[in-house]
């Protein structure tokens, strides 16, 4: 019994209950405090974690839950889940920081704080659970708060997007549950540690294939895998900034984490049989996502499709069934969480200022109008297209390296084709990001009419422009539309709250890019344990 791991989901749960006692005005500060406490605990877990034994489950808690069914409340952490837990705690904390400076337009801050804390319980629990049903419960807990985040605080078409999200993912969960039950029926245990240790012995090959298929489809909806991805663009486009960040940064990772924790280690024969299909869907997703991005007109939608492409690399890593591929997938998971989280933060900031994320309406010249926001957008895009020296590179590069030499049972020519297609995908990824940057940040600022927080008084404009630039008579809000040829209205560049929320992600993106060993040293022993390779040699 280890208190630290119990505290991780318990603190946000108690914090959520505690929102009853706080007023609406202090709610966001309360949220910051609770999520900071969770982050502190996550850091403490990382501190007491034994890095020499990263392949072994640590800090375990194993309590009987429903003895009649053999269900146990089993939590633990190893090199695979530790980075994800810390990432979750960090992103949630940053979301609250952002929220403190940028309260939701729809109001009801207290309710949003409550919802996000419940969401955090589910996310952290998913990554800690070591019992299949406990995993499933936490997996499901996440859906409801996310539904409300989209449905209440979302954009114009939020209802439809939220309904699509919940129905689609619930359907996926149903199939996932079926797969988990097949595993239970065959192996007779729900304990993930035991299941992983037996490397699939005790489960017939046909049952493994069926179970892998069912679990795979369930996880595929969440990850998402092409062609089960269409809930994602809608949900992302409509979700508020914090919702998009957590959706892309953490929720998608729950799907790929399921592959790393359950599907591949527990069902090795099923994985081997279906890996070529998984790989094919992965590279289709890469190309398809990139092409879809190239034609998008909405910034948030484009980033959403880019997630399809990036998760394609993660899945390609899994499909190779090699240690390097698994490492690639786990690295790509974290990198995508950091970078796409940052991208959604920045794009959310842009939408807040311009009042739209439509590329046509945004016009160009953002580097002139909002130099800092545009520079951060450039950084995030460059990181996302996989520039070496930044975190995004290692996941992609190692996935391709894994595909160069897949596991012995797999067809090498096929995976070489996957590798080549993935390579073309990296060029297309660079293409859509650079074309978007060229459209939005370069060129001259075309006069758009922002409906966002335009500056009202001459003093505010003075602050933005600096003392030496002449002040034109500026109309605000709707008045601009009728006041002759509209002028570019000065907007506030990056705020302190935004910087506080964004810079940690920038710093970590650079840190993992320069020093990939920080993550790889953690995941490699765990990956070797999955494939039953002893020691540190591969």
């Amino acid at each position: 019994m280890n208190w630290l791991l119990i505290l991780l989901p318990a603190v946000p749960l108690l914090g959520a209950a505690g929102t009853v006692a706080v007023s609406g005005r202090t709610a966001s500060r309360y949220g910051v405090a609770v999520s900071a406490a969770v982050l502190a605990i996550a850091v403490a877990v990382a501190a007491v974690f034994d890095y020499g034994q990263a392949g072994r489950m640590q800090l375990q808690t194993d309590l009987p839950w429903i003895p009649g069914l053999g269900l146990r409340f089993h939590l633990g952490i190893d090199g695979i889940s530790l980075p994800l837990v810390v990432l979750t705690a960090l992103l949630t904390f940053l979301c609250f920081l952002h929220l403190a400076g940028h309260p939701p337009e729809a109001g009801r801050t207290r309710a949003l704080v409550f919802t996000l804390l419940v969401l955090e319980v589910g996310m952290i629990g998913t990554f800690l659970a070591l019992d299949l049903l406990v995993f499933f419960v936490f997996f499901e807990v996440v859906l409801i708060p996310m539904y409300f985040v989209i449905a209440i605080w979302g954009g114009r078409d939020r209802r439809a997007a939220a309904v699509k999200f919940i129905l689609y993912t619930l359907l996926g969960s149903a199939v996932l549950l079926l797969g988990l039950l097949v595993v239970w029926a065959q192996a007779g245990t729900l304990d993930m540690v035991d299941l992983a240790a037996s490397h699939g012995s005790g489960i017939a090959r046909s049952a493994q294939i069926v179970a892998f298929l069912a679990i795979g489809i369930g996880l595929a909806v969440k990850t998402p895998i092409w062609p089960l991805h269409t809930w994602l663009p809608d949900a992302h486009t409509e979700a508020p900034t914090v919702g998009s960040v957590l959706l892309a940064g953490v929720l998608l990772k729950m799907g790929s984490y399921g592959f790393a924790r359950i599907a591949v280690p527990v069902l090795p024969e099923g994985a081997e049989a279906l890996a070529p299909w998984l790989g094919a869907l992965a590279v289709i997703g890469i190309i398809y996502g990139s092409l879809a991005c190239l034609a998008q007109r909405d910034l948030k939608r484009m980033i959403a499709y880019s997630s399809v492409g990036h998760m394609g690399f993660v899945l390609l890593g899994f499909a190779t069934l090699t240690p390097v591929g698994m490492n690639a997938a786990l690295f790509g998971n974290i990198a995508h969480g950091l970078i796409t989280g940052l991208l959604f933060f920045v794009v959310g900031g842009i939408k807040e200022r311009y009042g739209t994320a439509d590329l046509m309406k945004l016009g160009g010249g953002m580097l002139r109008r909002l130099p800092y926001v545009a520079s951060l957008l450039t950084f995030a895009c460059v990181a996302s297209l996989g520039l070496p020296g930044l975190a995004g590179f290692w996941g992609e590069m190692l996935a391709l390296l894994g595909a160069f030499q897949p596991a012995p049972g797999l067809s090498r020519p096929l995976f070489l084709v996957f590798m080549a297609v993935g390579g073309v995908g990296t060029v297309l990824t660079a293409a859509y990001f650079l074309v978007m940057l060229s459209r939005v940040t370069h060129g001259r600022a075309r006069e758009t009419v922002p409906v966002g927080p335009a500056l009202a008084s001459a003093e505010e404009i003075r602050v933005v422009l600096g003392p030496d630039e002449p002040i034109e008579p500026v109309a605000t809000g709707t008045a601009v539309a009728e006041a002759g040829p509209p002028r570019a209205i000065p907007m506030r560049d990056v705020t302190a709250h935004e910087l506080a929320a964004w810079l940690p992600l920038v710093a970590l993106t650079i840190a993992f890019g320069v020093w990939p060993k920080a993550l790889l040293a953690l995941t490699t022993p765990a990956v070797h344990a999955i494939f039953g390779i002893g020691g540190g040699t591969g």
């Binding site: 699509k164 689609y168 062609p227 991805h229 269409t230 809930w231 398809y288 092409l291 879809a292 991005c293 190239l294 034609a295 998008q296 240690p323 390097v324 698994m326 490492n327 160009g364 010249g365 580097l367 800092y372 460059v382 520039l387 070496p388 020296g389 590179f393 590069m397 190692l398 391709l400 390296l401 894994g402 160069f404 030499q405 590798m419 390579g423 990296t426 060029v427 297309l428 660079a430 293409a431 650079l434 074309v435 060229s438 370069h442 060129g443 001259r444 933005v464 600096g466 030496d468 630039e469 560049d493 990939p516 060993k517 790889l520 040293a521 490699t524 990956v527 070797h528 540190g536 591969g538």
Partner: protein
């Protein structure tokens, strides 16, 4: 000693960070004239000091490598052409990163080849940084500009001193990013922005092949370390595959056919950038990497043959394109492609020494030419040669320096280009291979065309009637106009300093001159130049490019390769993208929405039974009861 190497790489990086974050600190938002001036001054310091320190350290490294015995360093097989001059070598590993497959080692290594290239990079980078202070004096974005140059210098040094192929690849890609950022420096103009995107994407396409080549080598050798890869016993088939894949990256970075189209457009960047990145250093990285892994290429003859054909086609085509351009910088850009093809030809002919020799002299004289062109453009306010003419009286210093540069480009003695180009042509002449006659013919022909286009540019710029029209306000994307006669001292000093190696570097190759082939190529070059002179003399106001006749437009458009690629790749990809976006909305998502509608319709059927009519319910109940009874009777 490895600490010195690390410092050479890290100092410019630190300068970049300082320039980017510190220039406007702490009043970041202010854009007044005063704060711009302070920011530019700080940025200039944080750019020039690390560049100077880096140059000093590189010089120290060179002295150490030339004089010291290789104490405590890895042993070398020897036999490389640089081992006589720089025998000292060193290697240091920071850490080994386990990936689950072939490990990546963060290794730096310095040997003769890296020292030679490192000197070139450090000298040109410092010259360009000093020059830029004057050239970009009133540019409010000078801080980011100089920081990106520092970042580029750091990345290029990383490529030069990398001891591991993945580390090299990291530097290689970061250079590409800096190139993108700097080409797009004047991003208000859409054309510059497009040129930047094109440069990044075309080189990235080649880099995909490059990365796969690295995979092939690394997996075959069991290590990504360059030393291990060179020592490993790799079967010939694998070697050919790997080197062919590497060649894709080489063609992309060094702007060789068929991936050369980005370089002329890259001239949209500020001229000092063209001098540093797009003439002297980054584009030479492709040649460098072949020389670095030359033992592997020697083991893969088919790759060298392909390289030879690519070089032969590229050198002549680019030279012809240069002959018809009106933009002075584009002339120099095409000439860069052509000269890089010479280096590639030397490699294909089996002489890495000649290739690296030409790389060094070319780096010096092409950087000189670009910096001089910058002075001219600064003075005239336009890139077009049709706006220039008669400038030798207004810009005497620049005229002298640029004459040295053009002489080196044409290969006239005693300038550096004469010796290095002779080394290349002699190497081609004495090589054997299926592509040799083709390559040799193309090389000689190109010498003549080079003489022609260099003479044309020289005459059109500095001689004839003055066509300079004072422009009150230059269009965006060109440097502003000076009223003075010559550029400021901070711009002339780097020009003067670079003129020295451009003139004298060649004498290092004096003992190896093949006088016979040198005489032939000198004659051909003079023939080309003389032809242009004759045409120009008959009508000094007109462009001597008219000697090409109807072929002129074809050359000016560089044989329509750009148009071909646009209709072959760019447009189909965009069409495909739109099709995918449409299909995603209608087909994939349509299926999802369709399943939703189907469910609702099905539920409509079920609802028919639940209409609230009691009679119907009772009828159903009785019918069920009847069925059960019958079933019980029949089955019992």
């Amino acid at each position: 000693m490895i600490t010195v190497v690390a410092l050479i790489v890290l100092l410019p990086f630190a300068g970049a960070v300082a320039g980017l974050l510190g220039s406007r600190w702490p009043r970041g938002g202010s854009r007044t004239e005063e704060s711009n001036r302070v920011a530019n001054r700080r940025a200039a310091w944080s750019a020039i000091v690390p560049a100077s320190a880096s140059l000093a350290l590189t010089a120290w490294l060179a002295v150490w490598s030339a004089g010291a015995l290789p104490r405590g360093s890895v042993s070398w097989s020897g036999g490389e052409f640089w081992s006589g001059l720089f025998p000292g070598a060193t290697e240091g590993t920071l850490t080994l990163v386990e990936t689950g497959s072939v490990p990546i080692s963060f290794t730096l290594r310095a040997d003769g080849l890296s020292v030679l290239l490192g000197m070139l990079v450090a000298v040109v980078a410092l010259a360009v940084q000093v020059y830029s202070v004057g050239y970009m004096r009133d540019d409010p974005r000078y801080p980011s500009y100089s920081a990106f140059i520092s970042l580029f210098t750091s990345a290029m040094s990383l490529v030069v001193f990398a001891g591991d192929l993945i580390v090299l690849y990291a530097g290689w890609e970061i250079m590409g990013l800096c190139s993108y950022l700097l080409i797009g420096h004047w991003w208000e103009d859409r054309a510059n922005s497009r040129a930047a995107v094109k440069a990044f994407l075309v080189t990235r396409l080649g880099d995909v092949g490059f990365l796969f080549g690295i995979f092939t080598l690394g997996v075959a050798a069991g290590s990504f370390r360059i030393g291990d890869v060179l020592r490993a016993d790799i079967p010939t088939g694998t070697l050919v595959t790997a080197t062919m894949l590497l060649l894709a990256g080489v063609a992309g970075k060094s702007a060789q056919a068929p991936l050369h189209t980005w370089l002329p457009d890259a001239m949209a960047g500020p001229t000092p950038i063209s001098a540093l990145i797009h003439a002297a250093t980054m584009v030479a990285a492709g040649i460098f990497i072949v020389a670095r892994l030359y033992p592997l290429f020697l083991g893969a003859q088919p790759t060298l043959d392909v390289l030879g054909v690519v070089a032969a086609v590229g050198m002549l085509g680019a030279a012809l394109a240069a002959l018809a351009q009106n933009d002075l910088k584009r002339v120099l850009a095409y000439s860069t492609i052509s000269q890089l093809a010479y280096m590639a030809a030397a490699l294909a002919a089996g002489s890495d020494q000649a290739a690296i020799f030409h790389l060094l002299t070319h780096g010096a004289f092409k950087a000189l030419l670009f910096l001089c062109a910058g002075v001219v453009i600064h003075h005239v306010g336009s890139n077009r040669m049709s706006h220039m003419g008669g400038l030798r009286t207004a810009l005497p210093f620049t005229f002298a320096a640029m004459t040295i540069g053009f002489a080196a480009l044409m290969g006239l003695p005693p300038a550096g280009g004469f010796f290095s180009k002779d080394a290349v042509i002699a190497a081609i002449e004495h090589s054997h291979g299926p592509a040799q006659p083709f390559l040799y013919g193309s090389a000689l022909l190109t010498v003549g065309v080079t003489g022609a286009y260099a003479a044309r540019a020289w005459l059109r710029t500095f001689f004839g009637p003055s066509r300079v029209e004072p422009l009150p306000e230059p269009p965006p994307g060109t440097a502003h106009v000076f009223d003075g006669r010559e550029a400021p001292k901070s711009m002339l000093w780097p020009v003067g300093v670079l003129a020295v190696p451009a003139l004298l570097l060649g004498f290092a190759g004096l003992p190896d001159v093949d006088w016979g082939s040198a005489a032939v190529s000198l004659l051909v070059a003079l023939l080309g130049a003389g032809g242009v002179y004759a045409f120009w003399r008959s009508a000094p106001r007109q462009d001597p490019a008219r000697m090409l006749g109807p072929f002129r437009v074809v050359c000016e458009r560089a044989f329509y390769v750009d148009e071909l690629y646009r209709s072959l790749f760019a447009r189909p990809v965009l069409r495909l993208a739109r099709a995918v976006a449409r299909a995603d909305g209608q087909l994939v998502d349509g299926a999802v929405r369709g399943s939703g509608r189907l469910t609702i319709r099905l539920s409509g059927f079920v609802r028919l039974a639940q209409n609230g009519n009691t009679q119907l319910y009772v009828t159903g109940l009785l019918a069920g009861l009847l069925l059960i009874t019958v079933a019980a009777v029949v089955l019992a």
